[in-house]
């Protein structure tokens, strides 16, 4: 069984970190996992994304054309990846940054007002964790607490004070449940 996840957004949104958290968790669960970023031009700016592949077999390609799931943290990512998600796959969208709904009806999707939630939790930087929570809550590839455990283990000690906020963010995200476009329309 192989699950492929792309997380995409602006440079400062913690896209790469969210992917790494996922990868750590998968590793700690004894699974095969790859994490690979898009590494842009030799200069700054623009968007970022990473692909995480989790599998029980040695992983072939760390890149995929049609991922099982996508987390789109901003509008450009939403626009770019909606069409790529595998049929039956999952699309998690940061509702705070988009102005339209999901068009495809053959995938599951979740709209999460992640910025708002993060701000409510009191730390804008938690946006990525809210979305990660939504992803995990609807994907079943890794239990939420695996991610929490990994955060504790791999986050440098000086950041441990953020753990409660992280947990809250993940859980608030996980509370959102995926729907299919048909449902959305209705």
């Amino acid at each position: 069984m192989q699950t492929e996840i792309i997380i995409a957004g602006f440079g400062g949104q913690g896209v790469l970190f969210a992917g790494q958290v996922l990868a750590y968790a998968a590793m700690d669960q004894g699974m095969h996992v790859t994490w690979i970023p898009s590494y842009g031009p030799e200069m700054r700016g623009g968007t970022a994304n990473c692909t995480v592949v989790i599998s029980d077999l040695e992983i072939g390609s760390p890149l995929v054309s049609h991922p099982t799931a996508v987390v789109a943290m901003n509008k450009p990512s939403f626009d770019k990846y909606e069409s790529m998600v595998k049929a039956g796959g999952l699309l998690v969208i940061n509702q705070s940054m988009v102005d339209r709904g999901v068009e495809r009806s053959d995938i599951r999707s979740i709209m999460v007002p992640a910025n708002t939630i993060a701000e409510k939790i009191g730390d804008k930087r938690m946006t990525n964790m809210v979305l990660l929570g939504a992803l995990l809550g609807n994907l079943g590839v890794l239990p939420l607490n695996a991610v929490e455990k990994s955060l504790k283990e791999h986050l440098p000690a000086k950041h441990h004070k953020l753990l409660p906020a992280n947990r809250m963010a993940l859980e608030s995200g996980a509370a959102f449940k995926a729907v299919t476009a048909a449902q959305v329309i209705n």
Partner: protein
């Protein structure tokens, strides 16, 4: 009859030697300022159609997209050699290289010294931003003692990493170099002085006097981890003391040429 009226005039607008292209530079990066000054000078001298620019490898690699004249792009450090090739077959064109400090003072030191020694009749715009901007802020030959970079994480240790190179001073020891000065881009006064120097550098070339180089102290807010304003202050407070703003070599014939 003489009539006095108030009339609105354009006192500054985008130089013609620029294209209508957004730069890829980070906000506040004075690569852009240096570009602008070059473009203004070229406009003023009316030599746009005679220019061949040589871009180097560094953040300014895409300089060719921003200037509205012919451009080639050299391998890392080799712009002076490419410029030599161009100039030798087209002696009546104006040839400029635009190089960073990693490009010119590290990998390209051999080429710049040789070009200066040959008195190659080209103009070099040399951007000293105390690090390798493009590759993510590694130590450059110009990185200051104690300065943290991604390849000197504990600050440049002169015992191990050596001392910064004062390029303009070094090149001014060469008989072939006719105009070698340092300027800075961190405030309006210095920017004005920088423009004058760039003008004189191109005048040096125009009058066939040989090699000219303007070293420009420039910010890299992104890799320095500063805001643009903080970066300008850092230039004034830390860079200028180490890299004095000065004329290191001025060909006597330039005295008669106004910039």
């Amino acid at each position: 009859m003489v009539q006095t009226t108030l009339e609105e005039q354009i006192v500054y607008s985008r130089p013609e030697s620029f294209t209508d292209t957004q730069t890829h530079y980070c906000p506040g990066c004075t690569h852009g300022t240096a570009h602008r000054l070059v473009a203004e000078v070229i406009d003023e001298m009316g030599i746009r159609e005679k220019m061949v620019g040589v871009a180097s490898v560094g953040c300014s690699v895409f300089a060719y997209n921003y200037f509205n004249f012919d451009f080639v792009q050299a391998p890392h450090g080799r712009a002076p050699a490419m410029a030599t090739g161009v100039k030798r077959v087209l002696p009546d064109r104006f040839v400029m290289t635009y190089q960073g400090d990693g490009d010119l003072a590290s990998i390209g030191m051999g080429e710049i010294v040789a070009a200066a020694a040959r008195g190659e009749n080209i103009t070099v715009i040399f951007i000293n931003n105390a690090n390798y901007g493009m590759t993510g802020g590694q130590m450059a030959p110009t990185t200051l003692p104690g300065q943290q970079t991604s390849s000197s994480p504990n600050g440049r240790d002169v015992e191990v990493d050596g001392f910064p190179i004062r390029t303009a001073e070094l090149l001014s020891t060469l008989d072939g170099a006719s105009y070698v000065v340092r300027r800075s881009l961190h405030d309006p006064k210095n920017i004005r002085m920088a423009k004058k120097a760039i003008r004189l550098a191109f005048e040096t070339q125009k009058h066939g006097l040989g090699f000219s180089l303007v070293e420009l102290l420039s910010v890299c807010p992104t890799n320095w981890g500063m805001t643009p304003l903080q970066a300008q202050e850092w230039v004034a407070d830390v860079m200028v003391p180490y890299y004095p703003i000065n004329d290191f070599k001025v060909h006597p014939a330039l005295a008669n040429i106004k910039a």
